[in-house]
Structures are given as C-alpha cells and as structure tokens.
C-alpha cells in the first residue's frame, strides 16, 4: 500500500509536467495544426534560466519571472521568424521547421549556458512529508499545485475571455474566424507565447526534482507529446488526463516492472494509441450537421 502510494506520488508529479507540455502541444496544434517539437525546449529554457539566474545570486521570484518572460519571448520569436514566414507551406514542412528549431535552441543553450547539469534548490525545503508510510517531497506539491493552477487559469482564459474564445474559434474554423474580424496572425503568435509560458512554468517547478541541462527538454517534450496524443490531439482536457496517465503508468512501470523501461512506457502508449484509437481518449467526435 505504502509502495503503491509512493509510486502514485511520483507519477502524479511527473504527470503534471507532462500535462503542461501536452497542453502546450494542444494550444499550438489548435491554432495552426502544427505539432511544435520545440515544446520540450521551452521547458528546458525555463529551467536553465531559473537555475543559472539564481546561481548568479538573483532572488528566486525575480529569476522565475525573468525565465518566464525569456521563454515567452523565445516562443514568440520562433513563431515570428521561423513559422510565420513559412505560413503558406505544408503543415508537414512547418513541423520539420519546429524540429530544426528545437535543435537550434539546444545548440543555443549550450552556447549561452554550458553542457553541465544545473540544480535549483527546492522552493520550500527538503523535509519530506510522510503520508500512510509513503514520503512526499514538498517540491512535488509545488509541481502539482502550480500545474493545476496553470491549467485552471488556462481553462478560464479559453472559456471566459473573448480573446480565448476567438482562439478556440480559429481552431474550429479558420475562415469563419477571419470573417469575424479575428486576426489569425495574432492568434498564432499568442498561441506560441502561451505554450512557451506553460513550458517554462513546468521547467521551473520540476528542476529542483530532476535537475536540468541543455538536453533536458527532449524527453519531457516527447512525453508531453504522448500525453497530447493519448488525450486526443488538440483537446485540452485530454492533454491533462493523458499527461497524468502517462506519468502514473511510467511510475508504476518503473516500480513494479523495471526502472530500465521507465522511458519506454510513454512510447509504448503512443504506439498503442496510434494502432487502436488514433483519435485518442477525447479525440474529436463529429457533432456537426452539414
């Protein structure tokens, strides 16, 4: 029982990060039908910037804010200089551009920072909390709490604000959105900014647990992608549920089978989804009457 609980804690913690990454994929996918493979790099930049800034003596809150702004700017620059100029190209071409961008960002991170691992002190100490025989690190609560708050804010944005609804409308019907006077270029730019911000938030809260280096985004990004695919690409709630499932499956697999297969589990899930339920758990079910 204690063992299971321990694995669940671990799974929910990493699952929350995958959920944020999956949401990042979903937002950009909705705005443009592009799968942004640089999503993991947003996570890396958020973590690296916060770790190096605090190591340079800047107080944590200021470092976090700076890292979030930096990542957002990187996301917007990516859209402005790599995606926007190719907007008339095939979706597949643009996806390949994002893969190129992710390699570029990893290279840039090596130049700006270095190839070393960077650590960040936990936000509120390292005294474990004991629950029913299992231990929970305070940082896990930070990860889970911040992720859930970010998800709630995002839900509010898309369902309660006019610009959020305009972004959703653009994903449902781009032409009609244009005819309503919605500037689809701006929607695309904001979708990259938001996805980058989500990635940064995930990267910042997870770094005290997992360390970070210039390559840290690859795995996190791919797992976020499997979360998004499992939930049904473009479905926000699906990405969150998918993220938590991938996280828990991974933790249980590592605990009960072998930790050697930990990283394989997410990819087995992708294969399973693609073979047996290509629309994912909450994929589009057509409700349109024609």
């Amino acid at each position: 029982m204690a063992e299971l609980l321990q694995y669940l804690f671990a799974g929910l913690t990493s699952g929350a990060i995958y959920a944020l990454a999956g949401l990042g994929f979903a937002i950009i996918y909705n705005a443009s039908h592009v799968i942004n493979f640089a999503q993991g790099e947003f996570i890396m930049i958020g973590g690296m910037a916060t770790a190096t800034l605090t190591a340079a003596g800047i107080p944590l809150p200021a470092a976090i804010l700076a890292a979030m702004i930096l990542t957002m700017l990187v996301g917007m620059a990516l859209e402005k200089f790599a995606i926007e100029p190719a907007r008339n190209a095939d979706v597949v071409t643009i996806i390949i551009i994002t893969i190129g961008a992710s390699i570029f960002l990893r290279g840039a991170a090596q130049v700006v920072w270095d190839k070393e691992f960077h650590a960040l002190a936990p936000f509120s100490g390292e005294t474990p909390i004991r629950i029913l025989g299992a231990t929970l690190m305070p940082q896990s609560l930070w990860v889970f709490g911040v992720s859930m708050a970010a998800i709630a804010l995002l839900w509010w944005f898309f369902n309660r604000t006019l610009f959020g609804k305009a972004m959703l409308a653009t994903s449902f019907n781009r032409l009609a959105a244009q005819l309503m006077g919605i500037g689809v270029k701006r929607v695309l730019l904001v979708s990259f900014a938001l996805s980058a911000l989500l990635g940064a938030v995930g990267g910042i809260v997870v770094t005290p647990i997992a360390f970070t280096n210039y390559e840290a985004g690859i795995m996190l990004g791919l797992k976020g992608f499997s979360a998004a695919v499992l939930g049904g690409l473009g479905n926000g709630m699906g990405a969150v549920v998918g993220g938590l499932i991938v996280g828990i499956a991974e933790a249980l697999g590592a605990g009960y089978v072998s930790s050697a297969y930990k990283d394989a589990i997410a990819f087995v899930i992708i294969l399973f989804v693609l073979f047996f339920m290509p629309n994912g758990l909450f994929g589009k079910k057509g409700v349109d009457r024609v």
Partner: protein, 234 residues
C-alpha cells in the same frame, strides 16, 4: 457609392477564377450576383473579405481603397460576410457564436445587438446554450446571418444562403433578407437560386466563368430571355 469593384482578377494557382470583374453597390441597395456553379461567385466574395489574393484590379469601400487591407480590418470598416455553407463554430454555443460576430466591437452596444438578434430569431434564443453544430441547417443559416449582423455591418455579403435548405426554409431565409433590406442594410447577395435572388434585388449581375456577362435591374434580368433559358429553366 458604397462598394466599387474595378477590373478585379483573381487566380487559384494558374487557374483564373475572376477576369476583369467590375461591380458597384450603392448605399441601401440589394444587389444580386447570379451564375452557375463554379462561375466565381464565392471567389468574388472571398476577395471582398480579403481572404483570397487579388491579381489585378481594385476594391473601394466608402471611397477608401481597401484592395490590400487585412481581413480583420475590413470587418472593422463594416464589411461582414455570411460564408457559403454557414461555417458556424460547431462546438461553441450559439451565444458564443454571436458574441464572436461582434469581436471587433464590444461593450454596451454589443449587448443590445445580442438582444436584437434574439428578438429577430427567437429560435436562436431558445437554443442559445447549445453547440451551434447541433442546430438544423436552416437554424445554422439564421445563426450565420445573425452572427454577421452582430458586427453591425454597413455592407452584408451573403453567399448562397439558400443552399441545401428545404423549400420552406428557403422562403423563410429570403423573407429575412427582405426584412434586413427594409431596415436599410446594404446587401450583396450571391445565389444560384437566380429566380429568388433577382425577384428581391434592385439590380443584378450575371457571372459566367469569371466574367460579368450581363447587368441590369433585377426585374429586367428576370424578364430577359437568355437569363430565363440559362438560369431559370423556363
């Protein structure tokens, strides 16, 4: 003159869809554009809304050149389009669809207009919380028209509002168009249903393979032998 299209041409790749089209619409007029499937009617409306590239010619709206103006700015200037096939935001509620129609102009006036639309189309009020995609074809057409009106347009572009609807609903939609015209909305109506469109219209244009081949008063076109043979099946 509210709208003045001069010598407009447009291409899809290497295929020419519009060739030297000139059309004018005066303030308060209802002008119909009729023609067969594939004549370029929808392309012309797409050019007017700025979502289709123009290869030659110019568009002036209320005296200002808008040939290169971005689509969202044209909506702000007062050009609203009800696109072919309705194109409502299916998964979003009727209410949200209408609010997005007023995307360019929020505030008090928007709330008043929302109420006005629900009075004009009571069926939409009944279904305001439902996803637009669950409405029937006729209701979706009403929604698409109401959504365009939410931008308080000076010029309403209607693309095939009767397409795919049962005859009874077609009559209902055209009654709506007529009442809008009575309210003083300037309308540019594109229709395959030439008889209904020309009956309502002050003036009409006939488009054939990308070019305007005839233009006259609506009733004069209706009475024209060539039109009767080609489009009215008489």
């Amino acid at each position: 003159m509210l709208l003045e299209i001069r010598g407009l041409s447009s291409h899809y790749g290497r295929i020419q869809a519009l060739d030297d089209v000139s059309v004018t619409v005066d303030q308060g007029e209802l002008v119909a554009l009729v023609g067969a499937n594939g004549a370029g009617k929808t392309t012309l409306l797409r050019c007017l809304s700025g979502v289709q590239p123009i290869s030659a010619g110019s568009i002036r709206f209320d005296g200002a050149d808008i040939t290169r103006t971005a689509p969202e700015k044209r909506v702000a200037l007062g050009i609203a389009q009800v696109p072919e096939g309705r194109q409502v935001f299916g998964p979003m509620s009727v209410d949200d669809n209408l609010r997005l129609g007023a995307y360019r102009r929020q505030g008090r006036q928007m709330a008043d207009d929302l109420e006005r639309m629900y009075t004009l189309f009571p069926v939409l009020f009944k279904k305001r919380e439902l996803p637009a995609g669950t409405l029937s074809g006729g209701q979706q057409q009403m929604l698409a028209i109401a959504r365009a009106l939410m931008s308080n347009p000076r010029l309403l572009l209607l693309d095939e509002p009767s397409m795919g609807l049962a005859p009874l609903l077609v009559a209902e939609i055209f009654a709506v168009v007529q009442s809008l015209r009575g309210d003083g909305v300037t309308i540019f109506l594109v229709e395959q249903n030439a008889h209904a469109a020309l009956t309502l219209a002050d003036r009409g244009y006939v488009l054939e393979t990308g070019s305007v081949v005839m233009t006259d008063q609506g009733h004069a076109l209706l009475a024209d032998e060539r039109i009767q043979q080609a489009y009215l099946g008489l």
